[in-house]
């Protein structure tokens, strides 16, 4: 785990089931995350992933790579294009800083509409 190391690309298929089950598991009951009719009425093309899920996916992307011993200290994300039902969300990441056991990983999650999320995750790995 050195500066410049890339994380393996990871693809998430954002099926309607995925969008809805993650919204409910994060206790986010806003209609745009589970009711397509209302989402369309509000000007969206479909239901879309909620932020708490995006945060969870970013965390999972990094810990899947770093292993279960890594401790997550910070998840900073900036949101861009929504990730709609039926989109494929592709994650890319790279180690950008390492100070002893503390690593900073830059993460991008992208759909066909553009960057859904860009951010950094700080983790602490065992010595």
């Amino acid at each position: 785990m050195r500066i410049g190391d890339s994380l393996p690309e990871w693809h998430v298929e954002a099926t309607p089931t995925f969008v809805i089950s993650t919204a409910l598991a994060t206790r986010d009951f806003q209609d745009v995350h589970h009711d397509r009719d209302l989402a369309v009425q509000r000007g969206s093309k479909d239901i879309f992933i909620n932020i708490l899920t995006t945060t969870g996916l970013v965390q999972r992307y990094v810990t899947d790579w770093a292993g279960p011993e890594a401790l997550v200290r910070q998840v900073n994300i900036k949101l861009g294009a929504p990730c709609f039902a039926y989109d494929t969300l592709k994650f890319f990441g790279q180690v950008v800083e390492r100070e002893q056991q503390d690593l900073t990983i830059e993460v991008v999650g992208r759909t066909a509409h553009g960057d859904h999320v860009t951010g950094t995750v700080k983790i602490e790995v065992p010595a």
Partner: protein, 295 residues
């Protein structure tokens, strides 16, 4: 100071709202639901919760209502009344001071940190509202979040682009060096200039051969087949007679020269293409490219 800024200052001055309790203590069933939905098979979440779940514990829930002293709720009301009726989250920065153990009872406090605007954004004019939340176990701060939303007035849909008559399309400048080319397209021929001295093929046309210096250009008629050497997708600015986006491809013809033209299709470098002729009017016929099935 605008009215919105005055209201923001007043709300910010209130500081942190009263602590709001999580519905349930940190518990395994909710952790397992979260892991299952996210698809996370991390084996470590049997005694502690995934850090990224911190906000989940204090979500207001299906019938949740904002408390009156909630600073984000108050600021949303101010902006709603000023006509900024739509909202989109833009940033979430979470810092976890430690992992949360099963059975711990969380509460959350929130204060208004910053309100900036009005800003022109892609979605419309709006204000960025930043809050800061702290999660507590008793009087120990265990996690923090800076959260930013854009509260905006939806931009009116842009006027549909008026159909521009084809005759208004940008026309090539035709001169003595190039008229053989445009005469060719009118006749359905793609003509490549060939030096009358040394026979070198060249495009775009010019008066003199760069190889031997002869000034007696002739031409040959191309088969009109080639591959995409490179391309651009033009989005902006608008071009008379064109609907954006459109593709301009640099095509390497089988005869060896490269030629620019519009391409109709999903482009990729190396793709086989063939020429198509589009009659704009009696004077002008434009060559362009389309995919060609290999046969």
């Amino acid at each position: 100071m605008t009215d919105i800024e005055k209201e923001a200052a007043r709300i910010a001055e209130q500081g942190e709202c009263a602590p709001r309790l999580a519905r349930d203590p940190v518990n395994l069933p909710m952790i397992n639901n979260w892991l299952e939905a996210i698809g996370d098979d991390h084996p470590g979440y049997t005694e502690v919760a995934p850090p990224a779940m911190v906000q989940v514990w204090t979500m207001a829930g299906l019938r949740g209502q904002r408390t009156l002293d909630d600073p984000l709720g108050q600021m949303m009301t101010v902006l709603d009344e000023a006509g900024y009726t739509s909202v989109v989250a833009t940033n979430s920065d979470q810092t976890y001071h430690r992992y949360l153990k099963l059975g711990e009872q969380l509460s959350v406090t929130t204060s208004l940190e910053d309100v900036t605007g009005p800003k022109k954004t892609g979605l419309g004019e709006g204000w960025f509202v930043t809050t800061r939340s702290t999660w507590w176990v008793g009087d120990e701060a265990v996690a923090e979040m800076r959260f930013r939303v854009l509260k905006f007035r939806p931009a009116r849909k842009p006027e549909p682009v008026k159909e521009i008559p084809k005759a208004q399309a940008i026309r090539p400048s035709v001169n003595r060096d190039t008229e053989y080319f445009w005469e060719g397209t009118r006749q359905g021929e793609l003509r490549i200039q060939r030096c009358g001295g040394c026979g070198l093929l060249r495009h775009p046309p010019g008066p003199m051969c760069p190889e031997c210096g002869a000034t007696k250009p002739k031409y040959l008629v191309s088969e009109g087949h080639g591959v995409i050497y490179s391309y651009v997708v033009h989005h902006h600015p608008q071009v008379p007679g064109k609907q954006t986006p459109f593709v301009i491809a640099l095509v390497e013809l089988d005869e060896g020269v490269r030629m620019l033209g519009e391409f109709d299709g999903e482009p990729s470098v190396g793709q086989r293409v063939e020429v198509v002729f589009t009659e704009v009017d009696d004077e002008l016929t434009m060559p362009s490219w389309r995919p060609r099935a290999d046969r």
